[in-house]
Symmetry: C2
Subunit: 245 residues, 2 copies
């Protein structure tokens, strides 16, 4: 990653710090992905104990984020890295902040298990595990792309976000219809809406990681096209496309 | 902010960079607070044009965030700041990322204006402007605390988050009741739920800024007590306290 010819000693020390940063991020990311999977499993099974275990595991992710920050600051202070290397350290900080948020969304979903645990099943919920499977795979692949510095895998993750948005939009519509059928469906369906929204945001965050990885590897932004679209006021996935109905 | 005795020249150069970073963050924060206010005004007035203007202003915030990142990296590379100063630069990066998210939530809220624009008023909506006023003031004061390095103001912002959560919880309950009265209320009320949730998250983000400011100024964490609570699985505001009903 070092494009300038520094002394072997400097490179080795910095590389060792960076390797350690990447290890921490790998560990943190693995935990967050695990939290996503376990929270969805708890929701599907309506298992309050499993949900509680997810909530209780969240501080571990927060602790690793604090370690990443400390190590990043120590690395910069000790090694005074040049521009490209410095960018790598900053990227590690950004990615760890994103992973922390993924963990938060998984925790928030787990906390909703009690609110959806009632006798009558929420029919549209069948879409949730499939949506969660795609999102969890995106998180996994974004972390892989980071570990392997693989811009093609990062771009692939980035593209998959559209299908998450489609799942979310159909779930949103299905849940609204389900709520209209019977007032008793309203409370649990509202929690399912937030669960689905959180999954959609986890997908967005996997996409954010992919963007950082792609930019680090290529110097180009994956987001330019998206950003341009956002300046136009149109029906947009992130408001559930409800205006289309 | 420099506790070690460096040369006057080094201090002056670094201080100038830091001053520039803080100016950018002040500008960015002012814009984000403005977006929050304008999005809520558009929602209350159901003014699609005003909402569109909010959506179109969002990329300005993103551009300043990119400037902050570039300047932060340049500052570290040029000045090789010592530990305390380095922490200040990293804090600036973190705060700019949080402000960007506040802008995103305001934009997302603005996009929902069309979805709530229908003839029948959403009665529980009267709570929204009041909740928004508190949240907007929190953002303003968190930025002030940052500009003035004022830990007491930061702690004050942090405390106010509880009242935002209370507003959110009452709005959540009121909206559910409103939905149960009439199926036609369900779609617009769902969007109002997301709007309220976004406001609540903006309050969380103002709290995050306050935490960073407090830690920078005192070396102590405002969050220790909160963090300890989170490890216990209880009814919690961020799942709307629905289990209590």
């Amino acid at each position: 990653m070092n494009t300038n010819p520094p002394t072997a000693h400097t490179v080795k020390s910095f590389d060792e710090d960076l390797r350690q940063l990447r290890l921490l991020i790998g560990e943190m990311g693995g935990l967050a992905k695990d939290q996503v999977d376990r929270s969805v499993a708890a929701i599907v099974a309506r298992d309050a104990d499993a949900a509680q275990a997810v909530v209780q595991s969240d501080p571990r992710i927060d602790r690793i984020e604090a370690e990443v920050e400390q190590l990043a600051i120590a690395t910069i202070a000790r090694r005074a890295p040049l521009a490209d290397d410095l960018r790598e350290v900053i990227a590690a900080l950004k990615i760890s902040a994103v992973i922390e948020r993924i963990g938060d969304y998984a925790k928030n979903n787990a906390k909703r298990v009690n609110s959806i645990a009632q006798d009558s099943p929420i029919r549209p919920m069948v879409i949730v595990p499939e949506m969660a499977r795609i999102v969890s795979q995106m998180v996994d692949d974004a972390l892989d792309a980071y570990a392997r510095r693989d811009p093609e895998l990062a771009r692939d993750v980035w593209k998959r976000d559209n299908s998450v948005d489609e799942y979310y939009n159909s779930l949103f519509r299905a849940l609204l219809t389900f709520m209209m059928e019977n007032p008793h469906h309203i409370t649990p369906s509202t929690h399912m809406l937030f669960i689905a929204k959180n999954l959609e945001r986890i997908g967005d965050h996997a996409t954010n990681i992919a963007e950082v990885v792609y930019y680090s590897a290529t110097g180009e932004h994956l987001t330019d096209r998206q950003k341009a679209d956002e300046t136009v006021y149109t029906v947009s996935e992130d408001v559930e496309g409800e205006q289309e109905r």
